[in-house]
Structure formats: structure tokens, C-alpha cells
Symmetry: C2
Subunit: 387 residues, 2 copies
């Protein structure tokens, strides 16, 4: 199969975008990616869009056709596909877009992610988030996403002596990074102490351990690697795209201090890319809750199992540390518009590998990774990129 | 790319399945397809599932992981992808499954479609159907799916002198076919007169011009054509899989008596398969409303534009006619569980091309076609199959 490259990337600002609709932000992100690629809309062969729950958030399905239409791309009647894997919907769109180009089926495609969450009340949004876990065996019993991640956190603390302070450090680090990200929802530093002093949401997780409800969209333009240099001097190559599943219910898992879907997807990705975790220069991982980042950096092989908390506490995941994690600010500080996140991560890695990340730039970043999960880890998707 | 074959196909009965859940019917269809293929679950490399709106029908997203989990396929952590294109979600799952095998990415995949619609009241279901059209410019003004198809019908009557009797004949023909389909929701004949005497839903469409709300699931197992004979003596080959988009709003279209997405997708499919419409022996087309079948058989090239009504009135689309359309009973008589329909169509064509369709068998059927649309035609997907 052909190698695939990203030749354009763009994002809206993430946050409470009251003045913009779902279709506004979809188009804004798409146009930025197309503009960044210096390509004409007429050259686009297909669109893959990741979205978790527009059906409930804005009472609209048929999202593929909607996006193609409002982006002005229906004149050529190009295929437009919406995919859903809860919070991993964005990376799933990228995964299928990569396949469609790698296979030779299409030459130029857009992978986009979008979610408009703030048009419903927050209690409805909470219930919507719970549709990413097992409605009949978890959510219906009162389990919410934070409470399930709290169980993972408690088990991780019990087995590996991970501390609330180490988890708080994840949030503090990510907020510090986001100060330099103009597209982040929260561009202000918070101390680990502030995290620990924020209200408990689900013990041991505090409010500031949790990512936020937000609106946002992001898009990338992909093409065959051999054509990429016609459009940009700095293509970013997709070296691997791997997806794996696990039980949707947390209580059916082998071990709730790890996510097997992440382990399977990352092993496959590293095998495909012929790379080792130690060769990754920068990673965007799924920190929907602070414990999720700690579990992810272990499951991805950056640290031994049980040592993610210690590594975070020691600053090894800061920019300038051993393996910078979430230089964008992550889900915690960028905000987490569900279907948009997986693509936003790819936008960040694209900017990092181009050396265009400004004050949040990881020095000499040449190999990057993104990690996006759905629900409590029922889906995991890992991409590896090189400059 | 590799040629792809269907080696197994299965479906639940369609209808008001009060005693079965979304996950029950998903698993039932999947197991029937796997059983029909004589393959082990361990050999399956990936799942693609089409579903329109489980988020609103059963308050559950993350459908890919859910199906993989309840089908017992998470032990191998295989990728599970949910796609959505409104009522064309099923065919979209098949389209991506075909790509994943044709490209060599996977060897054995399941394409499934499922919808559980009867767990909500019918007024909610009506509103859910309207999420397949433009919520902000159509549905919010009171337009429902039947009312939009009624506009198409009225325009078709005006321009081509299509009659209510010809439309009623679509329903009568499809019900007559469904008598012999054990999986259809309505296995009873209705006369064209009964259709015309049923209550008006949206003039000129009567209740019996409309397909029904139903529960159902269907699945097919795909593999590379060169391996198919190891599993079955009668593989069905996928000769083309084509997808196209149009504006989501009806009022933005070039012509509301035709669907450009169908025209584009079918032209591409015929080109790929190196076949002409006259070479198709049997077709399952999207008769969500009777006028939709008349428009489809014109747009697919089976009849000249404007002659679909006349051809139907003359019996040319009956089994034994010039081109048998919807021998299964179609959406009208099988029921239309949105995401399931596109796969159910493929199951029917598989049985037809194998010569296993019993009393509804189209004699000497060797080349078949399926046509599945989303909303009022914002998405169209066409597949061509041969024995």
C-alpha cells in the first residue's frame, strides 16, 4: 500500500463557542486545513468525519452529507462518511482516511472531527457522555464516565501507589503547555495544589482532574506521500494507523489499571512503523481524566507499568523532559469536543513535526504519536507520524 | 486491489421485536452470517457496523465496541467501526468493509447493519427520521421525511404524469414478493386499491406508500475472492462499491424528480464493474416511499427518466418482468430498520445469486445490484454483485 502524508492541518479554537453552529465550526476547520495545504476544494476526493453524538447534541444525523454540503463540496458529489467510536471518533476518521489513500482508492481526502456540545444543558451532556459506556450494565446503574475513571484511579493508586498529587501534576503540566496554544480552551496555568483543592467529582478525581465539555472542530488533508512535496515543503508522514477494541464495560476487563485496546493498538502501530516507544519524540495522548494520561503513557510503552505517576511527578513528561506528553495542553486544557479530539491531536503533531508549534515546540521533534480512546477504553486508536 | 467476495449472509426477522434488544439482534445477525460462512469468530479481522441513531433510539453510542463485545470478539481486540449515513448506514458499512478487504488491510471482515427503533414512541421516531434531513432548514420548519418525498412525488407527477396508481403498484408488488420472505415484517398481499384507500400521510403519499418503523439486523462476511471457495461453493463477488453525496436539503438540489447522488454512484459502479444497467438481473432499491422506487429505477438507468411509473404499472419490475425490483419485498414490506436496510439488501442479493431465494427466486439471476440512500438522497451507495 502507498505511504500517506498530511499536507494540511487546521482547527477552530476550542471552547464554549456560543456564536457558532456545528456546521460553522466544521466548515471553519475544513477551510483552514484546505488553505494550509494550498489545495483547491475541487481536488478533494472524499471526506471522513468523526463525530460522537450530533444526533443527541443537535438532533442531526447524516453528518457526512451535512459537512460535504456546507463545505461546498457536493457539486462533485464526493463520498462523505461519518464514523463514530465515542471519544475516539476523530482518530477513527483519520484511520479510515489513511486507508482510503494508502489503498489507492482516493488521492486527496479530508479527515475531520467535530462536536458541538454546549447547545445542551450540562446534565444532558453528562448523560450523553455516559452513552460511550455500557448503557445497560453501567450507565443505567448510575455509573458516569468520571466515576468509572475514578475506579481505575483508585485501583492504580492501590496497586502502584500512584498519588493524587501525581495525577494533579498531569493537569498542571497540560495547563502550562496550553498557555502557548492559541486554540486551547483554557490558556492559564493551574497549580497541582489548585487541582487538589478543587471539588471532588468522583473520589479520587477532582473537577480539575477532568477534561471539559467544549465545542470544536479540526481537520487534516491527506494525500499519497509521493505527491505531498507538490503541496508543501514539510509533509508529515503517517507511518502507522492502528485500531483495537475491548469490552465496552469496565467490569469485564482483564485489568482496570491498564487498557488492553491501547496496548494492542500501540503494539501494532510500533510494529508497522518499525519503531520503538523510546524513538517517539512527542506524543498527544488521551487525558480525558488525569489518570487516563498516566495509564496511557504506561500502556504505550513510554514507562513501565505502574511508573506513569512517578514519571509525571518527576517532570519526565514535560516539554524538555524524557518524552513530552500533550504539548498542546491535551484534552484537559484544550477542551474535549469528543469527535474533534482525535483530529486535533493530529493537527498538534503536524505542527510539532513541522517545527511550527511556537513556544510549546518540542525541540528537534521528528517522530510523533497520537493516542485516542473511546469511553473507558472500549476503542483505542494509535497513529505514528514522522517529519 | 483484490476482488472481494461474500461468503456468508444472515439476518434477523424484521419487525416489532419487543422481546429482543439492540445487542440481541446485532449478535443474532452476526452469528447467522458467521454460521452461513462456516467460519470461526477467531478468523474475523474487523467489523464494520452501520447504524443511524442508536444514540437517540436507545441512548447508546460507541456501537462498534458494543457489537464486538457482545459478539464475543473482543478477546482478539479486533477493530470495530460504526459508520452513519442516515438510512444508508448499512451500505456504508459494506462499502468500507469492501475497501478494507480489497486493499489487503484485512482478510476476513463482517459488515453489519442494525437499528432498534421500537423502544421509543412513534412521534419520537418520526422526529428521529427527520434528523436525516437538514434540521436547521427543513425539519425545524416542520418538514418530515414523508412530506419531502411527497414534494418529490408531486413534482414527478407534474412533470412525467406519474400517477398515484403507479406508486400504489410499487407497494402492492413489494408486498406480494414479501409473502415468500420469512424475514419480512409484512408477509401479506395488499392491493393497489388498498394503498390508495389508506389514510393520506403527506399528499399524494398514503400510509401504505411509506415503509415502516422496525427493528432488525443483518450481516455479511467478506473475504478476498481467491479464498472464498475454501468456505463456500457459491461465493458472491462484489464487482463494484460506489458512494456519492448531494446537498442534505431537498430545496438545494438541481432537480427534485431525480437524485444526483444515485446517478453519480451508479455510473461509477457500472463503470467499475464494466457492466450496463441492462445486464442487471435483479436489484434491491431504496423504496422508503413508493415514489423513491420509481425515481431510483430511473436514476439507476433501468428505465428512461420519467418512465419509472409506467414501467411499474406495466409489471416490468415484478419477478418475471424485465428487471425484477425488490424481490425481498423491499423496505416497504420487509420493514426499514434504518441502519440494517443496506445490509439486508446485500443478504437478499446473495441469496438470489446463489439461487436460494425459494418462491421469490428471480430465475437465472447472475448479476445483482443494491441501492441504498440516506435521507432524501444526500447520500447514495450502489453495489454490484455477480455469482
Amino acid at each position: 500500500m502507498r505511504q500517506v502524508a498530511i499536507i494540511g492541518a487546521g482547527s477552530t479554537k476550542f471552547g464554549e463557542l456560543w456564536e457558532k453552529s456545528f456546521r460553522d465550526i466544521s466548515v471553519e476547520a475544513g477551510l483552514r486545513a484546505i488553505g494550509d495545504a494550498g489545495i483547491s476544494g475541487d481536488e478533494i476526493d472524499a471526506i471522513y468525519g468523526g463525530n460522537m453524538s450530533a444526533g443527541r447534541f443537535i438532533e442531526q444525523e447524516h453528518i457526512g452529507a451535512l459537512i460535504a454540503d456546507y463545505a461546498g463540496l457536493t457539486g462533485l458529489h464526493i463520498p462523505a462518511t461519518r464514523v463514530e467510536a465515542a471519544c475516539a471518533s476523530g482518530a477513527l476518521a483519520l484511520h479510515l482516511a489513511v486507508l482510503s489513500v494508502a489503498s489507492g482508492w482516493y488521492d486527496f481526502v479530508i479527515a475531520a472531527g467535530v462536536e458541538k456540545m454546549t447547545d445542551v444543558d450540562s446534565d444532558i451532556a453528562d448523560d450523553l457522555l455516559a452513552s460511550s459506556v455500557d448503557r445497560e450494565w453501567e450507565a443505567i446503574c448510575g455509573a458516569t464516565l468520571p466515576s468509572l475513571f475514578a475506579q481505575m484511579a483508585r485501583a492504580h493508586m492501590e496497586r502502584y501507589h500512584t498519588t493524587s498529587e501525581q495525577m494533579a501534576k498531569v493537569a498542571a503540566k497540560n495547563h502550562a503547555n496550553a498557555v502557548h496554544n492559541p486554540y486551547a480552551q483554557f490558556r492559564r496555568e493551574i497549580s497541582a495544589e489548585a487541582v487538589l483543592n478543587s471539588p471532588l467529582v468522583a473520589d479520587p478525581l477532582h473537577m480539575l482532574d477532568c477534561s471539559s465539555i467544549a465545542d470544536g472542530a479540526a481537520a487534516v488533508v491527506l494525500c499519497a506521500a509521493e505527491k505531498a512535496k507538490e503541496y508543501t515543503d514539510s509533509p508529515v508522514y503517517v507511518k502507522a494507523s492502528a485500531q483495537a477494541s475491548d469490552t465496552i464495560s469496565l467490569h469485564d476487563r482483564r485489568d482496570i489499571t491498564a487498557m488492553d485496546a491501547t496496548i494492542f493498538a500501540s503494539k501494532k502501530a510500533f510494529r508497522t512503523a518499525s519503531l520503538e516507544p523510546s524513538q517517539i519524540d512527542v506524543a498527544e495522548v488521551h487525558d480525558s481524566y488525569t489518570i487516563a494520561e498516566i495509564i496511557a503513557i504506561e500502556d504505550l510503552g513510554f514507562f513501565n507499568k505502574g511508573e506513569g505517576g512517578i514519571a509525571t511527578g518527576e517532570g519526565q513528561t514535560e516539554i524538555g523532559g524524557r518524552i513530552p506528553i500533550n504539548p498542546s495542553g491535551g484534552l484537559k486544557a484544550c477542551g474535549h469536543p469528543l469527535g474533534a479530539t482525535g483530529i486535533r491531536q493530529a493537527v498538534e503533531i503536524t505542527q510539532q513535526l513541522r517545527g511550527e508549534a511556537g513556544k510549546r515546540q518540542v525541540p528537534n521533534a521528528e517522530v510523533g504519536l497520537t493516542h485516542n480512546i473511546g469511553g473507558t477504553g472500549g476503542t483505542a486508536i494509535v497513529h505514528i507520524f514522522t517529519s
